[in-house]
């Protein structure tokens, strides 16, 4: 009897696994990626790392580029970029999100609008683009790499993108 019960339990788990193909099958709904980017955008503005720890895959070798600079790993991104930049009154806009899917991989291109005030009182207003790469991991899209670049809206700055 005990063996039968154990068998039934195992069969139930097996069926439960089969009944939830969503974990293995990537969902190619752009709204999922757009929701992640909105969480990330708000996280940037508020200096809140929670959105990043939730939506980013913290993997060895992760790099996040902005302009020509980079953060190495998720913690470096949050503590040395997200949090300090929010203290400058960052206002970040995302628009025109274009998401592309290739099986369990996706990338999204977004137009960005950045406004902040530097510690020495200089107002910065840049526009540019961001590219977010994502993988389908355990039933969710996870950001694995980012790159962004921007240039001043008014002033000419040939050395920057």
């Amino acid at each position: 009897m005990k063996k039968i019960c154990m068998g039934a339990i195992l069969a139930t788990f097996a069926l439960a696994g089969c009944a939830d193909p969503g974990l293995d099958t990537p969902d190619h709904d752009p709204a999922l990626v757009e929701a992640i980017l909105e969480d990330v955008r708000v996280g940037w503005e508020h200096g809140d790392g929670a959105a990043f720890y939730m939506h980013f895959l913290d993997w060895e070798g992760a790099r996040y580029f902005e302009g020509g600079g980079q953060n190495v790993g998720l913690r470096d991104l949050v503590e040395n970029h997200v949090e300090p930049e929010a203290e400058l009154g960052l206002r970040l806009g995302f628009s025109n999100i274009q998401t592309h899917f290739e099986e369990n991989f996706a990338w999204a291109v977004v137009d960005t609008d950045i406004q902040l005030t530097t510690p020495d009182g200089q107002d910065v207003h840049n526009r540019g683009h961001g590219t977010y790469l994502l993988r389908w991991v355990d039933g969710a899209w996870k950001v694995v790499h980012t790159q962004s670049g921007s240039s001043p809206v008014r002033a000419e700055n040939p050395g920057a993108d």
Partner: protein, 118 residues
């Protein structure tokens, strides 16, 4: 299997053997906006070639990650020199997304960004 992402050289060399690596629906991002393959090749490519010939660029190692039939590659660079009367001293980053098309890798997205060196 490592993809052959062409590295960064194709951007600066108008060579048909490199152009085939770009997917027809490639997205190219740099300052100035989002461009298609046709827009880039008929637009800024010649200027980029002239810039690359005039200003030396030192590339870092290309890092590649492969996930099944998709890969992404990134690298960094330092550009230092003179273009006409303009002094250039910038650090940059490059990102490419590639997908396997049959037996070949095609570049589906490119993002170049840079900023003045401090």
């Amino acid at each position: 299997m490592r993809p052959t992402p062409v590295g960064s050289s194709f951007k600066y060399v108008d060579d048909p053997s490199h152009a085939h690596a770009l997917a027809d629906d490639v997205t190219i991002l740099e300052s100035g906006g989002v461009e298609t393959k046709q827009q880039y090749r008929s637009g800024r490519l010649s200027g980029d070639i002239a810039f690359a010939q005039a200003v030396p660029r030192e590339w870092g190692e290309i890092q590649v990650e492969v996930v099944d039939d998709v890969a992404w590659a990134w690298s960094t660079s330092v550009t230092q020199g003179r273009m006409g009367d303009r002094e250039v001293n910038a650090q940059g980053a490059e990102l490419m997304v590639l997908a396997r098309d049959g037996g070949d890798w095609r570049i589906k997205a490119i993002h170049w960004s840079s900023r003045p060196r401090r």
